[in-house]
Amino acid sequence: MSDPVLLEMQQLEAAIPKMMEIARQFKLDFYPMRFEICPGEIIYTFGAYGMPTRYTHWSFGKSYHRMKTQYDYNLSRIYEMVINSDPCYAFLLEGNTIIQNKMVAAHVLAHCDFFKNNAYFSHTNPQDIIETMAVAAARFRQYEMVHGQQKVESFIDAVMSIQEHIDPHQSIRKRELQHDKSGCCNKKDNSPYDDLWKLDQSGHGCQCQGQCPSKQGKHPPQPEKDLLLFILENAKGLEEWQHDVISTLRDEMFYFWPQMRTKIMNEGWATYWHLRIMREMDLSEVESIEFAKMHAGVILPSRSSINPYFLGLKMFEDIEKRWDNEFGEGAGKEKIYEIREIDNDVSFLRNYLTKELVEDLDLYLYRKVGHDWKVVEKNWEKVRDHLVNSMTNAGFPVILAEDGDYGRRGELYLRHVFEDKELNIKYLEKTLVHVFSLWNRPVHLETKIDNKVALFSFDGEKGSRKFV
């Protein structure tokens, strides 16, 4: 290693324990840390994949290419990349200055605290996740060799198109079902290898030959939100490896889901703390200025979108101030620790985005009117409600599987739970084609267009739509 690089590593090796000490004094609680300094391509690879050990897919290549191009053209930089895992892996960009990396390290410590303590992350298996994904990636490579890259790739394309349609509350539901019925499907994962043993078994993973009470069956008493699960359990003609792909991608989504639901809180939390940690470090004047510039860049507000770093930071600071004022010094800090444990973005915004904040920060809603993008709403409640709504279900439309035997012909009937936002028609028609390739029989989707109920279908050859 060359001298300046070695010097930088030594500086970091000295700075990081100091920051960790400061963080601990602030009562932050994180997993053991693993920092890795690596070149841009690597960080952008991980950024595109979400995880260093994820399986191979061309879409990641597309994201990687786009991120790297933007980085090469100096349009944007990923500063930090941290993984919800135990030990917690954090990646520092090789070209960063020492101050930048110090700030990233501080920021990342707070992220790790968030991952460890926020309730929504409790089932994400941080100790095994990296290994699990690596093992899955290896299995996928094996499938590619046996069945051909094209076939596997197209199948993954199809599964990814509905990947986000899982039911994050499944653990609650399963417990309810298991409560009244005794029987085989009560088996919980007893060892970390249970999911491997299950691969040998078809369908639901138990021996009851499909008589499991917890399996919903083709005519679910309650429409099933977890489309991937529904397809796993009811689709005909899926091969063993296809089962595995669906199952793995579904597990992946469960892992990423909490991150998608707590973006504003998490970034706000990390920004709040990197500020305070860096303030406690003995920075020289030059370093302080550089840090201030970096921080300003990170929280820069945007006219066309909400900057989660900025909004989250302001909200935490506002909460701390208000609680300190009302309940005395120190109450604010206590409150924000509590929030970081129990809230997600929806509850965070609903409870703590106040009228004053909306007005102080000048938040608004805009839309396209004719040829112009215009501000259309400044009423604080409307702005807040819109933000809360857009985060429900992590911003994805809710699609339910209502019937797996529609028309008594084994067709799949999906229904979009329409509230006030219409679906993109072109996309949904193409997605139905993907769903068909998973279900292997005609598929239908009911939704509302222009206030009329519409039924879109795909029968394997062409799509159709009709208004009901």
């Binding site: 501000v375 439309p397 993109n424």
Partner: protein, 385 residues
């Protein structure tokens, strides 16, 4: 306190994951281009690229579809500088392009994915199926010149052609094998000579006689079709010949030579007499572009609405052109009106193997037209699309 942390810096130089998938993505882009060649060949960003190497090509098949909201109909949240009011305009977008608004990055919806490809990459794909027909005729000795190329190294030759470097290498080899390394004692067996071969070099010049009907009925769309066609035609010929010239001949009832700019933009009015431009082409060949020195490719674009009395003369002139040219082609751009007897139907009488006539209805017709013009010589000619 003992803090459990580690900082490492591994050697990532062999880490190819991103690169590998990016390669796969590039492959997919390539496949997508191949499947959509008809669209891409006439894509404006390429034809009007003015020589830029990298162009953005919209590829509609690489989108990742999912059930998602129609973002164009929705509201979005943003943050202002403190003084925003209802009715403030954030940005304006007169072209109705989907999703363009203030600022880049997290914008509501781009409907398609744009791939960055170099024109060379597209060329490769487009030209895969094209070939230069009638190549046998070019082996005519008169058209080929001979050149001398030093390609070979032998053990015998003229003293003045000794390849010193190779000779010394042989000496070193031999001495090392004998256990006596070093440069000493050059024997005759070590000598190496550079030798030449006589290589026939085929003619290196081509000229494209681009002829276009610029009467009133040829509007901007028709001109664009012609432009797309000539764009690829010239590029293709440039891969086969060292030197490609283009001559632009525009005509209505009379023909004249024009600049490229005028060829593609100026419109005239008035009637159409196609024979005028064929005559002009012949004249140019006789004066400026002798057949012995140039490979001539003549292509005429029109909407087919020729003066009926002129048609016979056109055929006669085309026959004359066919004597001199490697390829003569006629492209008819079908307009919205259906003409009962267009030039195209007339030209069906010409059965010469070096004559191709095509009919193009829309942008997607350009690529098939290119293919039939530059087809392999064992296929039939005269295709309409």
């Amino acid at each position: 306190m003992n803090y459990n942390f580690v900082i490492t810096r591994e050697d990532w130089s062999l880490h190819r994951k991103g690169e590998v998938d990016q390669h796969r993505h590039k492959e997919k882009v390539r496949e997508a281009i191949k499947q959509n060649l008809a669209d891409i060949v006439s894509e404006e960003s390429i034809i009007l690229s003015d020589g830029r190497r990298v162009v953005k090509v919209p590829i509609r098949s690489l989108e990742q579809y999912r059930f998602s909201y129609d973002s164009r109909k929705q509201k979005h949240a943003g943050q202002g500088d403190g003084k925003s009011k209802v009715g403030d305009v954030l940005g304006s977008d007169p072209q109705q392009a989907p999703g363009k608004g203030p600022g880049a990055g997290e914008e509501p919806g781009q409907d398609y994915y744009e791939a960055d490809v170099t024109i060379d990459e597209i060329e490769q794909i487009v030209f895969e199926d094209l070939s230069l027909p009638n190549l046998e005729e070019k082996k005519n000795k008169k058209l080929a010149s001979e050149t001398v190329e030093f390609r070979d190294v032998r053990k015998y030759g003229i003293q003045s052609n000794v390849d010193r470097k190779r000779t010394i290498l042989e000496v070193l080899k031999r001495n090392a094998l004998n256990g006596n390394p070093g440069i000493h004692g050059i024997t005759p067996e070590d000598l190496r000579y550079k030798t030449w071969e006589i290589v026939p070099k085929f003619e290196s010049s081509a000229v494209v006689l681009a002829m276009m009907d610029t009467s009133g009925s040829m509007g901007p769309f028709e001109k664009y079709i012609a432009r797309s066609f000539f764009f690829w035609m010239v590029r293709f010929l440039r891969t086969k010949y060292e030197n490609v010239e283009i001559v632009f001949l525009a005509h209505h009832t009379e023909a004249k030579e024009v600049t490229e700019e005028e060829f593609f933009t100026k419109g005239e009015s008035g009637g159409t007499r196609c024979s005028s431009v064929y005559q002009l082409a012949l004249d140019l060949i006789n004066t400026r572009y002798p057949k012995d020195d140039y490979n001539i490719y003549a292509f005429h674009f029109s909407d087919g609405d020729n003066l009926t009395s002129d048609n016979e003369k056109c055929i006669r002139l085309i026959d004359q052109l066919l004597v001199k040219c490697s390829l003569v082609g006629y492209g008819e751009i079908e307009g919205p009106y259906y003409y009962t007897s267009t030039l195209n139907s007339f030209y069906k009488r010409i059965t010469h193997s070096r004559f191709v006539s095509v009919s193009i209805r829309d942008k997607n017709g350009v690529y098939p037209a290119l293919k039939s013009f530059f087809k392999n010589s064992d296929q039939k000619g005269g295709v309409s699309s």
